[in-house]
């Protein structure tokens, strides 16, 4: 008899996550193409430069909507508590898998919570500056350079986060991705990574 799995993410949460995830990857690819002449060939994925220019902001709109949903869905769980602060103090042990010295995390650990807040901030920057870049003829060229600068900077942050996020969610912590694919995780995984949440589940 198989071990009963714990329900971690609802269908809607997963959809939202993947919308944001997939659109971000496409946006990053086309964005890099616009930023780095050597990567301009990436626009080919969307049908060439003009098509990429046209689609990038439209896909960006979808990304923005996803970000907003994500924020609404998860914001209540993302405030840091006392244990989270302790967790952050022991982040070195978390990285080296020195699990005993890491205070137990709830449904999300403090790193994930911070990740959430930073990505939300980046999302706002993407949406606002992206709007300016989408229709420069409406807002005037004066804003364009500033908007570009901020948009690029946000991209860097986002790109770096993507690497960390994907690495941790797949290779570093096997079993994690399952939660975002099937929506369920094993009790063992939960106990290891989110002991307090796991305990909650069991109590119920």
């Amino acid at each position: 008899m198989a071990t009963p799995l714990l329900h971690r993410f609802s269908f809607f949460e997963r959809i939202v996550h993947w919308v944001v995830g997939v659109t971000f990857v496409v946006l990053l690819a086309t964005g890099l193409a616009f930023a780095y002449p050597a990567l301009f060939w990436l626009t080919t994925v969307l049908g060439g430069g003009a098509a990429a220019r046209a689609l990038h902001p439209q896909i960006g709109s979808l990304f923005g909507v996803g970000m907003l949903c994500m924020f609404g869905l998860w914001v209540r769980d993302m405030f840091l508590d006392g244990q989270d602060r302790a967790w952050l103090g022991a982040i070195k042990h978390y990285v080296t898998h020195d699990r005993d010295k890491v205070p137990p995390a709830g449904k999300y650990n403090a790193g994930q919570k911070l990740f959430f807040w930073v990505q939300s901030l980046l999302g706002i920057v993407f949406i606002v500056t992206g709007g300016l870049l989408w229709f420069p003829e409406l807002f005037g060229a004066a804003w364009l350079n500033t908007a570009r600068l901020l948009h690029y900077a946000a991209t860097l942050g986002g790109g770096l986060f993507l690497i960390v996020h994907v690495y941790l969610g797949t290779i570093a912590y096997p079993g994690t991705a399952r939660g975002m694919i099937e929506g369920k995780v094993t009790p063992a995984w939960a106990k290891l990574h989110h002991p307090r949440w796991s305990g909650d589940r069991v109590d119920r």
């Binding site: 071990t3 193409a33 616009f34 930023a35 780095y36 002449p37 301009f40 626009t43 430069g49 003009a50 990429a52 220019r53 046209a54 990285v95 080296t96 898998h97 699990r99 870049l133 420069p136 003829e137 060229a141 004066a142 364009l144 350079n145 570009r148 600068l149 690029y152 900077a153 991209t155 860097l156 790109g159 770096l160 690497i163 960390v164 690495y167 290779i171 570093a172 912590y173 096997p174 079993g175 094993t186 009790p187 063992a188 995984w189 106990k191 290891l192 990574h193």
Partner: protein
């Protein structure tokens, strides 16, 4: 025979930063010279520009000026701007031919992310190639003179191309050909500078002590230069006093681009090193 259309820079390629020094260069470097003191504001150039380049007629309305359009557009690459200014006791009706100045260091080209959408030729002409334009309008923000205009229908940007098809055939641009008073001259840039000096002498003799040549160094000089009677009142001619553009003009962006590429690379490498060092952490599956 040097090639009149040898290329100097192509947008979004390494040549945007380091100009090509083609074997085919060494041909003539041209410039227009607009003598504002000789311009009568007849708009012949404006009409000739439209005729030659087959630009669409736009519905205009008089907005309280002799000026035909309020602004340049993707179908109006050349606009005569009229401005009445009191200079001391006298009135000056400043009439300026507004169009692309064809910078030696073209800010539009430096800003352009689309390879080949903007090309600078060794002869000084900066041309937009709409086939390669992606419509991002970064060139608009890159231009210190506010010249390129976006076409909402074609989703591309357009501006004066110095009638490059005429120049290639050994002719002068259409505006030069049309100008009834020879206020727009065309020739080798050095000759035009010499001519401008001569015109300056005459203007000073006529009492225009602040007369100046407009060939701003901030953009490496231009291939449409002006002889400006009131050189101390550039803003009244809507000419920026210190326009700048250089391959490094978007320094913030360049730094970010470089930092960004290292940072992303660093991210990937760090993850890999982490994997090798501490490996994955799997939960112990209880039976």
């Amino acid at each position: 025979m040097p090639d009149t259309l040898a290329i100097k820079r192509i947008s979004a390629t390494p040549s945007a930063l380091i100009p090509l020094n083609s074997l085919r260069s060494g041909g003539p470097v041209y410039s227009k010279l607009v003598d504002i003191s000789k311009c009568i504001g007849c708009k012949g150039c404006e009409v000739a520009c439209k005729e030659w380049n087959d630009l669409k007629v736009e519905q205009t309305t008089n907005f309280g000026s002799f000026q035909s359009h309020k602004d340049l557009s993707s179908n109006t690459w050349l606009l005569m701007r009229f401005n009445e200014v009191e200079v001391g006791d006298d009135l000056s009706w400043m009439i300026k031919k507004d169009a692309c100045l064809h910078c030696e260091e073209p800010g539009c080209l430096f800003s352009c992310p689309a390879p080949g959408a903007i090309v600078q030729y060794q002869n000084g002409i900066v041309d937009f190639n709409q086939d390669h334009c992606i419509g991002c309008q970064y060139c608009v923000s890159g231009c210190p003179f506010d010249i390129p205009r976006f076409d909402k229908e074609t989703k591309t940007v357009a501006k004066c191309n110095m009638c490059i098809d005429r120049v290639e055939a050994g002719l002068e641009p259409a505006c030069v050909k049309t100008c009834p008073t020879n206020a727009i001259e065309w020739g080798i840039k050095e000759d035009m500078l010499a001519l401008a000096d001569k015109k300056l002498d005459r203007l000073r003799e006529r009492g225009y002590e602040h007369a100046a040549i407009y060939n701003p160094g901030g953009v490496g000089g231009t291939h449409m230069m002006y002889v400006v009677p009131h050189g101390d009142r550039l803003e009244d001619y809507s000419l920026p006093a210190h326009p700048t553009a250089s391959p490094g003009q978007l320094r913030g962006l360049n730094v970010l681009q470089r930092v960004g590429s290292y940072l992303l690379g660093f991210g990937v490498i760090s993850a890999f090193v982490h994997f090798l060092a501490v490996g994955p952490e799997s939960p112990e599956e209880s039976a």
